[in-house]
């Protein structure tokens, strides 16, 4: 399979040759498999679909007994998500109803006798999530590519121990390191800062990323680089022009996994951030109204929060599959 690649080959790896051979197997069996897969995918998606539906429900539809499958959609949940509101007294409601200068959002919340008094923190938290998850993903991929390359190509004293050390970072339950990290962050002034969260997530992702990428780079034949070195490339040039393009698939897979982790992390975000650097996950599930749980608001937040990851995963899905293959099934 590797044989049809040259070291300049930046064209996609001709990976699976099975596609064009499907014809040899009975088409019907394949079609049945496809249909079954679609049905299972649908069943697995029911909770997510339900979440999407809840996002467009009104507060009372969301908690009706029995649960409603058909309902009048409303964007109330999304409005609640992005605004801060205040309960109006009956007299104020009457006043507001006569006003003509209300925009659609204000009219919507007026139906619940509320008025919008400002923006909620959600937009800011989304931005924090983007900054922190984005930067930490980029850093962990960069650091991991560099060290995975070094681990793969150079003889490093105590290599196995170092690698085990890196893997072991994932083994200690997070709960117990929160307190020491919190104390440390306090001392260093990293508490509730973007940079602090970026460092933290980068270090969490690194262990997985280094292992994944090292396995992948191991698979890239060293002849390619050697040939490039003979051609007069420096080691750095060879790394950049030969190894990196070959490693794109592994990098993509690592990116997806790192992003999923840093985007969704909850416990540390809760303990180590307050106002400035708070990300969205600690807030979404705990959005409280004055009384009941605001399911539609929670659902709206969850759906919005899910979309970016799904898009990235969809774009990188081919790489994802192959990245995992190369990374993990390398032999000895």
């Amino acid at each position: 399979m590797m044989a049809n690649q040259t070291y300049q080959a930046q064209s996609p790896v001709n990976f699976s040759t099975r596609v064009d051979k499907v014809g040899r197997r009975p088409m019907i069996a394949s079609a049945i498999k496809g249909i079954v897969a679609i049905i299972i995918a649908f069943i697995m998606l029911i909770p997510v679909i339900w979440m999407g539906m809840t996002a467009f429900k009104s507060l009372s539809d969301a908690v009706s007994v029995p649960p409603k499958v058909f309902f009048t959609p409303t964007v109330e949940g999304f409005v609640n998500l992005f605004t801060q509101q205040r309960q109006l007294t009956d007299a104020e409601v009457a006043q507001y109803q006569e006003r003509t200068d209300l925009n659609w959002a204000e009219q919507l919340v007026l139906q619940r006798q509320k008025t919008i008094i400002g923006q909620s923190q959600f937009a800011g938290q989304l931005l924090n999530s983007l900054i922190i998850a984005g930067a930490s993903t980029i850093f962990s991929v960069i650091f991991a590519v560099l060290s995975a390359y070094a681990f793969s190509r150079f003889e490093i004293p105590g290599k196995d121990d170092l690698l085990f050390f890196i893997l072991s970072q994932r083994m200690l339950p997070a709960v117990v390191v929160t307190v020491p990290i919190f104390l440390m962050y306090r001392q260093l002034g990293l508490y509730d800062t973007h940079i602090g969260m970026i460092f933290l997530y980068t270090s969490f992702n690194l262990s997985f990323a280094v292992w994944l990428l090292k396995g992948f780079i191991d698979e890239i034949p060293k002849e390619y680089e050697e040939a490039a070195l003979v051609d007069g490339y420096t080691r750095l040039q060879a790394f950049r022009k030969v190894v990196l393009p070959q490693a794109v698939t592994g990098i993509a897979a690592t990116t997806v996994f790192s992003l999923i982790f840093s985007w969704n992390e909850y416990a540390f975000a809760l303990m180590l951030t307050s106002d400035r650097a708070r990300t969205a996950p600690p807030s979404i599930p705990l959005i409280l109204g004055t009384g009941g749980i605001e399911w539609s608001t929670i659902a709206a937040g969850s759906m919005l929060f899910l979309i970016p990851v799904v898009i990235v995963t969809f774009i990188l899905r081919k790489h994802l599959l192959r990245g995992v293959t190369f990374g993990a099934i390398r032999k000895g």
Binding site: A144, V175, V177, F239, F314, I329
Partner: protein
């Protein structure tokens, strides 16, 4: 795959290492530059917490009390190991990990078999199946709690229970609560197993099947002799990761039952959380428990890695 070439090239590459070129960064420098950021970051972020909690595990200390840690040797460890409740916690965790990893493996592998052949839209279907693992665990727990609710949720209705007075009380019934957590865990993480299996499946050389077809081997034979052994390494890696995560699993259990009702779903991670926070702040004891969990995880990982190497060697 590239096994044979590796042996030759490793020789070449080590020669290259020994002959640094002029006028450019030596390989040694490059190696240092490449590795240092990772190692420094990991040491900064992890060594202190690790060593500090190891020290604290031998002390009587509460992080919020204004008292210095008092060295008590291995007392925390002996307390934990002689307390029945901790053993019950470990048993609960073990049951949960075992059941959910087995189910995830079966379902994930099954899905991968279904999706290995490309069909129109299979890329989209694969991505959609991966959606559960892209969600934040805390969001998953919150929503499943709503779904499991016999009054407000749809789960029981989907199963065909229409009378809420007799339908199962998933999170409140001591016989069902652990199963409810398993269901959510399997839902969320089977796609992960599927992803790894799919990767393994697509790497199986087609000629193996062609050869089997020529020999008129049965489908079962093909599965047992070709598919399974070829996927094994990746499957084991998936199982390893899921087992480690199951032992550490916190967000899901906390969000769904917080260990209840009573203590029937109190896993070691929940117990650890209750000890470390939840008004107890027994930092010393919780550090000791964390280290016990760590040792178990390392032991289990080693078992897996050993069988993984066996599978690879075969």
């Amino acid at each position: 795959m590239a096994q044979t070439s590796t042996d030759i090239t490793s020789l070449q590459s080590s020669q290259a290492t020994r002959q640094p070129r002029q006028r450019q960064m030596s390989d040694l420098r490059i190696m240092q530059l490449f590795i240092l950021p990772t190692v420094i970051l990991l040491i900064l972020m992890n060594i202190f917490p690790l060593i500090y909690s190891l020290y604290l595990s031998f002390t009587n200390y509460s992080v919020i009390a204004d008292k210095a840690p008092e060295w008590i040797g291995i007392q925390n460890y002996t307390t934990i190991l002689s307390d029945q409740r901790f053993w019950a916690n470990f048993a609960t965790t073990g049951r949960y990990a075992l059941i959910s990893v087995i189910l995830q493996t079966l379902i994930g592998f099954g899905l991968a078999l279904l999706l290995r052949n490309k069909f129109k839209g299979s890329g989209l279907v694969t991505t959609l199946i991966l959606v559960p693992m892209m969600l934040s665990p805390i969001v998953v727990a919150t929503f499943w709690k709503l779904m499991f609710n016999p009054s407000l949720g749809i789960f029981n209705y989907l199963l065909g229970y229409t009378d809420i007075n007799t339908s199962p009380l998933w999170l409140g019934d001591p016989n069902l609560a652990l199963w409810a957590i398993v269901i959510v865990d399997v839902w969320m993480w089977s796609p992960f197993v599927m992803l790894l299996c799919l990767a393994g499946l697509s790497a199986i050389p087609e000629y193996l099947y062609e050869a089997a077809a020529i020999d008129r081997a049965s489908a079962w034979f093909q599965f047992r002799r070709i598919t399974l052994p070829q996927v094994m390494p990746l499957l084991l890696i998936a199982v390893l990761f899921r087992t480690i995560e199951a032992f550490k699993q916190f967000d899901l259990v906390m969000g769904l039952t917080s260990g209840g009702p009573g203590d029937v779903t109190e896993t070691v991670s929940i117990r650890l959380y209750k000890l470390a926070f939840q008004g107890q702040y027994d930092t010393g004891m919780s550090s000791a428990l964390a280290y016990i969990i760590l040792i178990i995880i390392i032991a289990v990982s080693n078992l897996y890695i050993r069988s993984l190497n066996k599978a690879r060697g075969a």
